[in-house]
Protein backbone atom coordinates (compact mmCIF):
# COMPACT_ATOMS: atom_id res chain seq x y z
CA UNK A 1 0.00 0.00 0.00
CA UNK A 2 2.65 2.50 1.00
CA UNK A 3 5.16 1.26 -1.57
CA UNK A 4 7.73 3.48 0.09
CA UNK A 5 5.64 6.57 -0.65
CA UNK A 6 6.60 9.18 1.93
CA UNK A 7 3.53 11.30 1.30
CA UNK A 8 1.21 8.34 1.87
CA UNK A 9 3.11 7.47 5.02
CA UNK A 10 2.81 10.99 6.40
CA UNK A 11 -0.94 10.91 5.76
CA UNK A 12 -1.30 7.66 7.69
CA UNK A 13 1.03 8.91 10.42
CA UNK A 14 -0.97 12.09 10.97
CA UNK A 15 -4.27 10.23 11.02
CA UNK A 16 -3.30 7.54 13.51
CA UNK A 17 -0.52 8.94 15.67
CA UNK A 18 -2.56 11.16 18.04
CA UNK A 19 -4.59 8.19 19.23
CA UNK A 20 -1.59 5.87 19.28
CA UNK A 21 0.47 8.38 21.25
CA UNK A 22 -2.24 8.98 23.85
CA UNK A 23 -2.70 5.25 24.32
CA UNK A 24 1.03 4.64 24.68
CA UNK A 25 1.51 7.62 26.96
CA UNK A 26 -1.23 6.34 29.26
CA UNK A 27 0.19 2.83 29.40
CA UNK A 28 3.64 4.28 30.17
CA UNK A 29 2.31 6.48 32.97
CA UNK A 30 2.92 9.76 31.18
CA UNK A 31 6.59 9.19 30.33
CA UNK A 32 6.66 11.29 27.18
CA UNK A 33 10.15 10.40 26.03
CA UNK A 34 9.51 6.66 26.26
CA UNK A 35 6.11 7.08 24.63
CA UNK A 36 7.63 8.90 21.66
CA UNK A 37 10.24 6.18 21.28
CA UNK A 38 7.54 3.52 21.35
CA UNK A 39 5.43 5.37 18.78
CA UNK A 40 8.41 5.73 16.47
CA UNK A 41 9.34 2.06 16.80
CA UNK A 42 5.69 1.10 16.29
CA UNK A 43 5.61 2.88 12.93
CA UNK A 44 8.90 1.28 11.90
CA UNK A 45 7.65 -2.21 12.72
CA UNK A 46 4.27 -1.53 11.14
CA UNK A 47 5.87 -0.32 7.92
CA UNK A 48 8.14 -3.35 7.85
CA UNK A 49 5.19 -5.69 8.26
CA UNK A 50 2.58 -3.78 6.34
CA UNK A 51 2.42 -6.39 3.58
CA UNK A 52 1.34 -8.91 6.22
CA UNK A 53 -1.37 -6.69 7.66
CA UNK A 54 -4.85 -8.05 7.06
CA UNK A 55 -7.18 -5.18 6.51
CA UNK A 56 -10.16 -6.82 8.19
CA UNK A 57 -8.98 -5.29 11.46
CA UNK A 58 -8.48 -1.57 11.83
CA UNK A 59 -5.03 -0.15 11.29
CA UNK A 60 -5.33 1.78 14.57
CA UNK A 61 -6.04 -1.41 16.49
CA UNK A 62 -3.11 -3.13 14.83
CA UNK A 63 -0.80 -0.24 15.66
CA UNK A 64 -1.99 -0.25 19.27
CA UNK A 65 -1.17 -3.96 19.45
CA UNK A 66 2.37 -3.34 18.27
CA UNK A 67 2.78 -0.44 20.70
CA UNK A 68 1.45 -2.55 23.55
CA UNK A 69 4.02 -5.25 22.83
CA UNK A 70 6.77 -2.65 22.89
CA UNK A 71 5.49 -1.29 26.21
CA UNK A 72 5.42 -4.80 27.62
CA UNK A 73 9.03 -5.29 26.57
CA UNK A 74 9.87 -2.03 28.31
CA UNK A 75 8.13 -3.14 31.52
CA UNK A 76 9.80 -6.54 31.36
CA UNK A 77 13.21 -4.92 31.16
CA UNK A 78 12.42 -3.09 34.40
CA UNK A 79 10.73 -5.99 36.15
CA UNK A 80 10.46 -9.49 34.74
CA UNK A 81 7.31 -10.17 36.81
CA UNK A 82 5.53 -6.94 35.98
CA UNK A 83 2.21 -8.62 35.22
CA UNK A 84 2.08 -10.95 38.19
CA UNK A 85 -0.66 -10.39 40.74
CA UNK A 86 0.65 -9.07 44.03
CA UNK A 87 -1.81 -9.19 46.83
CA UNK A 88 0.34 -7.13 49.20
CA UNK A 89 1.15 -4.42 46.71
CA UNK A 90 1.25 -0.87 48.05
CA UNK A 91 0.59 1.92 45.62
CA UNK A 92 2.77 4.90 46.53
CA UNK A 93 1.10 8.24 47.15
CA UNK A 94 3.01 11.41 47.94
CA UNK A 95 2.18 12.71 51.42
CA UNK A 96 1.17 16.23 50.45
CA UNK A 97 -0.83 15.14 47.43
CA UNK A 98 -2.54 12.39 49.39
CA UNK A 99 -4.48 15.00 51.32
CA UNK A 100 -6.31 16.18 48.26
CA UNK A 101 -8.17 14.47 45.51
CA UNK A 102 -6.09 13.64 42.45
CA UNK A 103 -7.56 13.28 38.99
CA UNK A 104 -8.15 10.02 37.23
CA UNK A 105 -5.22 10.43 34.84
CA UNK A 106 -2.78 11.00 37.70
CA UNK A 107 -4.19 8.07 39.62
CA UNK A 108 -3.81 5.80 36.59
CA UNK A 109 -0.18 6.84 36.23
CA UNK A 110 0.52 5.79 39.81
CA UNK A 111 -0.76 2.28 39.45
CA UNK A 112 1.74 -0.53 38.98
CA UNK A 113 2.23 -1.26 35.27
CA UNK A 114 0.35 -4.57 35.34
CA UNK A 115 -2.73 -3.02 36.93
CA UNK A 116 -2.57 0.07 34.78
CA UNK A 117 -2.26 -1.88 31.53
CA UNK A 118 -5.29 -4.06 32.18
CA UNK A 119 -7.33 -1.12 33.44
CA UNK A 120 -6.51 1.02 30.41
CA UNK A 121 -7.20 -1.80 27.99
CA UNK A 122 -10.51 -2.71 29.62
CA UNK A 123 -11.98 0.49 31.03
CA UNK A 124 -10.52 3.06 28.65
CA UNK A 125 -10.05 1.18 25.38
CA UNK A 126 -12.96 -1.22 25.80
CA UNK A 127 -11.22 -4.55 25.22
CA UNK A 128 -12.79 -7.72 26.60
CA UNK A 129 -10.92 -9.94 29.05
CA UNK A 130 -10.45 -12.53 26.29
CA UNK A 131 -8.89 -9.93 24.03
CA UNK A 132 -6.69 -8.63 26.85
CA UNK A 133 -5.64 -12.18 27.67
CA UNK A 134 -4.59 -12.77 24.07
CA UNK A 135 -2.67 -9.52 23.88
CA UNK A 136 -0.89 -9.96 27.19
CA UNK A 137 -0.49 -13.72 26.83
CA UNK A 138 -2.36 -14.45 30.04
CA UNK A 139 -5.70 -16.10 30.73
CA UNK A 140 -8.95 -14.16 30.73
CA UNK A 141 -9.23 -14.97 34.44
CA UNK A 142 -5.87 -13.34 35.15
CA UNK A 143 -7.09 -10.28 33.32
CA UNK A 144 -10.24 -10.23 35.46
CA UNK A 145 -8.22 -10.54 38.67
CA UNK A 146 -5.87 -7.78 37.59
CA UNK A 147 -8.81 -5.55 36.79
CA UNK A 148 -10.42 -6.22 40.17
CA UNK A 149 -7.27 -5.29 42.05
CA UNK A 150 -6.53 -2.40 39.73
CA UNK A 151 -9.94 -0.83 40.26
CA UNK A 152 -9.65 -1.22 44.01
CA UNK A 153 -6.22 0.41 44.03
CA UNK A 154 -7.48 3.18 41.80
CA UNK A 155 -10.44 3.92 44.05
CA UNK A 156 -8.16 4.23 47.04
CA UNK A 157 -5.91 6.59 45.16
CA UNK A 158 -8.89 8.71 44.20
CA UNK A 159 -10.14 8.94 47.76
CA UNK A 160 -8.46 11.70 49.82
CA UNK A 161 -8.21 9.44 52.85
CA UNK A 162 -6.10 7.00 50.84
CA UNK A 163 -3.03 9.18 51.23
CA UNK A 164 -1.08 6.67 53.28
CA UNK A 165 -0.85 4.38 50.31
CA UNK A 166 -3.42 2.22 48.64
CA UNK A 167 -3.06 -1.32 49.83
CA UNK A 168 -4.62 -3.86 47.50
Amino acid sequence: MLDGDEKAFRTLYRRHTPRLYQFTLRILAGREHDAEDVVQETWIRATEKLDRFRWESGLGTWLAGIALNLCRALFRRQDEKWLELREDLTVPVNGAEGLQRIDLESALSRLPPGYRTVLVLHDVEGFTHEEIGRRLEVSANTSKSQLFHARRALRKLLTPSGHRGART
Binding site: L2, R10, T17, Y21, Q22, E32, E36, W43, V124, R151
Partner: protein, 184 residues
Protein backbone atom coordinates in the same frame (compact mmCIF):
# COMPACT_ATOMS: atom_id res chain seq x y z
CA UNK B 1 -14.68 6.58 42.07
CA UNK B 2 -16.29 5.81 45.37
CA UNK B 3 -17.83 2.34 45.19
CA UNK B 4 -14.95 0.65 46.92
CA UNK B 5 -16.34 -2.85 47.17
CA UNK B 6 -17.94 -3.12 43.77
CA UNK B 7 -16.00 -4.72 41.00
CA UNK B 8 -18.06 -2.96 38.37
CA UNK B 9 -17.76 0.68 37.46
CA UNK B 10 -20.64 2.81 38.62
CA UNK B 11 -22.14 5.36 36.20
CA UNK B 12 -20.03 8.18 37.59
CA UNK B 13 -16.83 6.20 37.26
CA UNK B 14 -17.78 5.13 33.76
CA UNK B 15 -18.37 8.76 32.84
CA UNK B 16 -14.96 9.72 34.21
CA UNK B 17 -13.28 7.07 32.09
CA UNK B 18 -15.24 8.14 29.03
CA UNK B 19 -14.18 11.73 29.59
CA UNK B 20 -10.50 10.87 29.36
CA UNK B 21 -8.92 12.25 26.18
CA UNK B 22 -8.38 9.68 23.43
CA UNK B 23 -5.96 11.67 21.32
CA UNK B 24 -2.87 13.72 21.93
CA UNK B 25 -0.27 15.07 19.57
CA UNK B 26 3.33 14.12 20.31
CA UNK B 27 6.17 16.59 19.82
CA UNK B 28 6.18 17.66 16.21
CA UNK B 29 9.76 16.55 15.65
CA UNK B 30 8.66 12.94 16.13
CA UNK B 31 7.22 12.76 12.62
CA UNK B 32 10.50 13.88 11.05
CA UNK B 33 12.46 11.54 13.31
CA UNK B 34 10.25 8.63 12.29
CA UNK B 35 10.45 9.46 8.59
CA UNK B 36 14.25 9.69 8.79
CA UNK B 37 14.44 6.29 10.50
CA UNK B 38 12.23 4.75 7.84
CA UNK B 39 14.31 6.29 5.07
CA UNK B 40 17.51 5.03 6.68
CA UNK B 41 16.06 1.51 6.65
CA UNK B 42 15.04 1.85 3.02
CA UNK B 43 11.35 1.62 3.92
CA UNK B 44 10.48 5.04 2.55
CA UNK B 45 11.57 6.80 -0.56
CA UNK B 46 12.06 10.50 -0.69
CA UNK B 47 9.41 12.71 -2.23
CA UNK B 48 9.20 12.10 -5.94
CA UNK B 49 11.12 14.69 -7.93
CA UNK B 50 9.74 13.56 -11.26
CA UNK B 51 10.17 16.27 -13.83
CA UNK B 52 12.85 18.11 -11.90
CA UNK B 53 16.16 17.80 -13.66
CA UNK B 54 19.19 16.90 -11.62
CA UNK B 55 21.20 19.98 -12.65
CA UNK B 56 18.36 22.20 -11.43
CA UNK B 57 18.19 20.22 -8.22
CA UNK B 58 21.93 20.60 -7.72
CA UNK B 59 21.73 24.30 -8.49
CA UNK B 60 18.88 24.72 -6.04
CA UNK B 61 20.75 22.89 -3.35
CA UNK B 62 23.91 24.84 -4.04
CA UNK B 63 21.93 28.07 -3.77
CA UNK B 64 20.46 26.90 -0.47
CA UNK B 65 23.90 26.04 0.81
CA UNK B 66 25.21 29.40 -0.28
CA UNK B 67 22.31 31.14 1.45
CA UNK B 68 23.00 29.38 4.70
CA UNK B 69 26.75 29.60 4.57
CA UNK B 70 26.77 33.22 3.57
CA UNK B 71 25.14 34.39 6.73
CA UNK B 72 27.55 32.52 8.92
CA UNK B 73 30.65 33.67 7.07
CA UNK B 74 29.75 37.31 6.81
CA UNK B 75 28.64 37.38 10.40
CA UNK B 76 32.06 36.16 11.44
CA UNK B 77 34.04 38.13 8.92
CA UNK B 78 32.48 41.46 9.70
CA UNK B 79 32.87 40.87 13.38
CA UNK B 80 29.18 41.02 13.93
CA UNK B 81 27.71 38.57 16.40
CA UNK B 82 24.14 39.01 15.20
CA UNK B 83 23.98 36.02 12.87
CA UNK B 84 25.92 33.73 15.15
CA UNK B 85 23.66 34.68 18.03
CA UNK B 86 20.61 33.98 15.91
CA UNK B 87 21.93 30.55 15.04
CA UNK B 88 22.85 29.74 18.61
CA UNK B 89 19.39 30.76 19.71
CA UNK B 90 17.83 28.74 16.92
CA UNK B 91 19.40 25.57 18.27
CA UNK B 92 17.33 25.91 21.40
CA UNK B 93 14.10 26.82 19.70
CA UNK B 94 11.67 25.21 17.35
CA UNK B 95 12.44 23.85 13.90
CA UNK B 96 10.40 26.65 12.35
CA UNK B 97 12.37 29.32 14.17
CA UNK B 98 15.62 27.60 13.25
CA UNK B 99 14.54 27.54 9.59
CA UNK B 100 13.74 31.25 9.76
CA UNK B 101 17.18 31.92 11.25
CA UNK B 102 18.76 29.98 8.38
CA UNK B 103 16.83 32.07 5.90
CA UNK B 104 17.86 35.33 7.56
CA UNK B 105 21.47 34.22 7.76
CA UNK B 106 21.45 33.18 4.12
CA UNK B 107 20.02 36.50 2.95
CA UNK B 108 22.59 38.35 5.01
CA UNK B 109 25.40 36.33 3.49
CA UNK B 110 24.31 36.85 -0.07
CA UNK B 111 23.86 40.58 0.51
CA UNK B 112 27.30 40.81 2.07
CA UNK B 113 28.87 38.82 -0.75
CA UNK B 114 27.34 41.19 -3.27
CA UNK B 115 28.81 44.12 -1.37
CA UNK B 116 32.14 42.33 -1.14
CA UNK B 117 32.14 41.66 -4.87
CA UNK B 118 31.38 45.29 -5.57
CA UNK B 119 34.21 46.70 -3.48
CA UNK B 120 36.81 43.97 -3.76
CA UNK B 121 38.48 45.65 -6.77
CA UNK B 122 39.34 48.70 -4.73
CA UNK B 123 40.71 46.90 -1.69
CA UNK B 124 44.13 45.47 -1.11
CA UNK B 125 44.90 41.94 -2.17
CA UNK B 126 45.14 40.61 1.39
CA UNK B 127 41.64 41.70 2.28
CA UNK B 128 40.28 40.20 -0.91
CA UNK B 129 41.93 36.86 -0.18
CA UNK B 130 40.69 36.94 3.38
CA UNK B 131 37.11 37.62 2.32
CA UNK B 132 37.15 34.96 -0.32
CA UNK B 133 38.48 32.31 2.03
CA UNK B 134 35.93 33.28 4.66
CA UNK B 135 33.17 32.82 2.12
CA UNK B 136 34.58 29.51 0.95
CA UNK B 137 34.99 28.19 4.48
CA UNK B 138 31.43 29.11 5.32
CA UNK B 139 30.19 27.40 2.20
CA UNK B 140 32.12 24.30 3.13
CA UNK B 141 30.77 24.38 6.70
CA UNK B 142 27.25 24.59 5.34
CA UNK B 143 27.86 21.69 2.94
CA UNK B 144 29.26 19.70 5.83
CA UNK B 145 26.11 20.34 7.88
CA UNK B 146 23.89 19.43 4.93
CA UNK B 147 25.65 16.07 4.74
CA UNK B 148 25.15 15.64 8.49
CA UNK B 149 21.44 16.23 7.98
CA UNK B 150 21.28 13.52 5.33
CA UNK B 151 24.47 11.52 4.73
CA UNK B 152 22.80 9.63 1.88
CA UNK B 153 22.08 12.73 -0.18
CA UNK B 154 24.43 12.39 -3.18
CA UNK B 155 24.11 16.03 -4.20
CA UNK B 156 25.14 17.35 -0.77
CA UNK B 157 28.01 14.87 -0.59
CA UNK B 158 29.25 15.88 -4.05
CA UNK B 159 29.14 19.57 -3.18
CA UNK B 160 31.01 19.00 0.06
CA UNK B 161 33.70 16.97 -1.69
CA UNK B 162 34.05 19.61 -4.40
CA UNK B 163 34.45 22.31 -1.77
CA UNK B 164 37.00 20.22 0.12
CA UNK B 165 39.13 20.05 -3.02
CA UNK B 166 38.63 23.74 -3.71
CA UNK B 167 39.76 24.59 -0.19
CA UNK B 168 42.85 22.45 -0.53
CA UNK B 169 43.73 24.19 -3.77
CA UNK B 170 43.02 27.59 -2.23
CA UNK B 171 45.10 27.10 0.89
CA UNK B 172 48.76 27.51 0.13
CA UNK B 173 51.68 27.32 2.57
CA UNK B 174 52.40 31.03 2.27
CA UNK B 175 48.84 31.95 3.16
CA UNK B 176 49.29 31.80 6.92
CA UNK B 177 47.45 35.07 7.39
CA UNK B 178 44.47 33.73 5.51
CA UNK B 179 44.33 30.56 7.56
CA UNK B 180 43.71 32.54 10.69
CA UNK B 181 40.39 33.62 9.33
CA UNK B 182 37.27 31.56 9.78
CA UNK B 183 37.11 27.92 10.73
CA UNK B 184 34.03 26.07 11.86
Amino acid sequence: MTSDESTELNPRERAEFEALPRERMPGRLLEERTVRSLRARGLLKRHSWTGVRVPWLAAGLAASLALFASGVAVGQWLGSSTVANSLATAQQETAMQAAAAVQRAGSAYVTALMAFAAISDSTGDGAYMQGREAALNALYAAAYEMVQIDPTDPVAVTIREGLEQARLRWRQPSDTAIQRVVWF
